[in-house]
Point group: C2
Chain length 474, copies 2
Amino acid sequence: LVSTGTARPAGGVDGILPTLRAIVGEQGWTDDPAKLAPHLSEWRGRVVGRTPLMLQPSTTEQVAAIVRTCAEARVAIVPQGGNTGMCAGAVPDASGAQILVQLGRLDRIRDVNVEDASLVAEAGCVLADVKSAACAAGLYFPLSLSAEGSCQIGGNVATNAGGINVLRYGTMRDLVLGLEAVLPDGSVLDNLRTLRKNTAGYDLKQLFVGSEGTLGIVTAVAVKLYPDPGPLQTAMLALDHAGAAVLALAKLRERMPDRLLAFELIGARPMDFVLRHIPAARNPFDLRYEWYVLLDAAVPAAELESALIDLAAQQRIADAVVAKSHAEQTALWRLRHSISEAERREGPGIKHDISVPVGAIQEFLDAAEERLRARVPQAEAVVFGHVGDGNLHYNAHLRRDVPDADLGRLGDELTRAIYELVTEMGGSISAEHGIGVLKKEALRRYGNPVALAAMRTLKAALDPAGIMNPGKVI
Amino acid sequence: LVSTGTARPAGGVDGILPTLRAIVGEQGWTDDPAKLAPHLSEWRGRVVGRTPLMLQPSTTEQVAAIVRTCAEARVAIVPQGGNTGMCAGAVPDASGAQILVQLGRLDRIRDVNVEDASLVAEAGCVLADVKSAACAAGLYFPLSLSAEGSCQIGGNVATNAGGINVLRYGTMRDLVLGLEAVLPDGSVLDNLRTLRKNTAGYDLKQLFVGSEGTLGIVTAVAVKLYPDPGPLQTAMLALDHAGAAVLALAKLRERMPDRLLAFELIGARPMDFVLRHIPAARNPFDLRYEWYVLLDAAVPAAELESALIDLAAQQRIADAVVAKSHAEQTALWRLRHSISEAERREGPGIKHDISVPVGAIQEFLDAAEERLRARVPQAEAVVFGHVGDGNLHYNAHLRRDVPDADLGRLGDELTRAIYELVTEMGGSISAEHGIGVLKKEALRRYGNPVALAAMRTLKAALDPAGIMNPGKVI
């Protein structure tokens, strides 16, 4: 367990608990340990915190009143959405002095505007519900990730969520038109406009996207909707090396520009884990290949099939299957979405969510393998990711014969090897998972000092008392 | 003439001039009034400033040394690119105490990476040259605006430039992958990465996009390139009312999703001005219509023609012409790109660069006409803009029989009427032209007070001595 280490003296907390409870009313708070438990622990159990009180406000005004109260008493606040983050950015520290503000009851879709192709959702709306609301209006909200059934749109904003459709539609930042946020002094920034263009002063919403609740609490967001891309075809490709995926992507993009919505790389090991641990998972091919690609394309089936036949004829891919039914599509995507769960069942792994320039993916994989062989030969890389945006989940498991006593040291050495390589290649140590608590030390070590200083300046300026999710990010 | 009013005491300037000259060398500075003149005046001559010295650094290190020197002496700096801005954000004030830093010699394309679909350009590269460099590599940089032959990419970043292809590719913000900037203390923020995904801390580059040189000087930028969209068809539509343009856009987008690159609305009056003042301009139709649309589509000519024939048959448009040659395309686009020049020749006008939600364009035009009729009946609206992103250049000319003594008062009343309406409708008083000096007072009046306070907090935190383009934006 990692205990987050930035506790403040608990002095002020107890005194404001009655005020905080009164702000939200009986339905809006709990200090019942059983009800608190799932909110205090990061989902893999790597960080467990404490809180005297979890608040579940149901209006923006309640959030503002909570923040004002905490600001006056200089009590720290931890905002939380669906608690599906990968870096423990949404759980309180171990001090028991941080108030948890869970946004799940701020769950109204405030508006869907077809003419304007926009939607306004409160922070606590589950991503899948936002997608459904867009769909019901005949439009499409593209953000898509494994946690979409439980993650919340406010958390997606706070972490600048990525996922499988970034290739075509960008990350959450690209989808946000406006937002409403409660600032660290309790004032409400109403920036909920749906304008496509606005240069009237600094674009403040950008500050909140990806700042993980450290600069304020996002309470609602206006997002872009897109035309329904039409029926999607799903295919899986089999490849002998990862570089073939980059080339296959380039070839397919030429043939169907803007119609490729997802292009996911899966290595042999994560596929093995899924086939081993996930009930009813099965390899769509008769053979085990070194690499697989899972793709969605908004083109007629015949067009995709003909493109894949050409790729195979040119020996650019080893094999391919196209899903023939919705059930087959679901089964293929289940392989991808089960990887994290399968990894968890396989045993403790070391996770990295890195990105490099798209053109450098094969170079990165070759260099990473070489460094691991030299520095941590006991490690086996477990690699999957998003070819189109250079984002690889470069995870690793240590062989089962490694003595328990060596696990920590070897894991650290492995992470150092990967992060050093990423940094040398101009990449990022966190492509889509954010920093939270778990990567804070890494950001300090590998981040650009001028950038880190500017981040600290921003944090100090907007949250001078340091009450907003302290101990996270910077 | 408007004189920008935030001069500081000139005490420190003279003392550092020798140091500043030494930093850039003989080729890099001038105080010759004739050479300075075009850099001291906004292009319409509405703001004219003074400076003791214009510096033209040729490296990022020189820019950093300039800023460090000015920061120590607390001397103000005004960064300038192509000086094509619409709000006088790039000219010094009248005090003669501000150093002008013109980026035109920082003009190298540092890298074009085809595999990665990215390009790195120094701030002083002319936009047209960046587009050519992308083209030479078989790729496409979509930012396109009337000033592209003289505006510079650093200025495009600083103002979050828009233009005609925002419909398909977004504004400059959407095209920036990374940037290099000199901060107000002279430190260099090297954020020049080409990553498609990065959540390692706050996304600092967003701060500099659209902040008009008030938070630092952008010295280089990494941008996204796109596949060449292929041959473009250009057409002009004739319409009886502006709402028909919104509907025509929706219909065409259904038929050719992602293939419509530009969709520009032009009212009858700006078209009249162009036909009157621009040599060789001619109306492609035999009749004068109330509204025109100019569009670019990356589809085969037959596909566009058939779509337009259907729109005409459904009486959604009154007429249409498709350019049959590159010369005809150029002639049609020249009508659009000549509007500002034609307006200037027509006489003094009142300019507004506003945006509303896309679905509300017709509602805005109707309400604006009504308010003008009631409040400034002497005004004639001159409207053109970008249908796809809700951005209208809602300009106006006062009738020639208005006495000179009334021009100022009526102009102010007209602007108030438009800005009040825009604000009521959740729109922006500056869609793509920024704030600069000319709209600073309007931002103060119509801006959200919480947002303005947050902007001032950011400015004070990042530029505590207030040396970066003081008197602009906020």
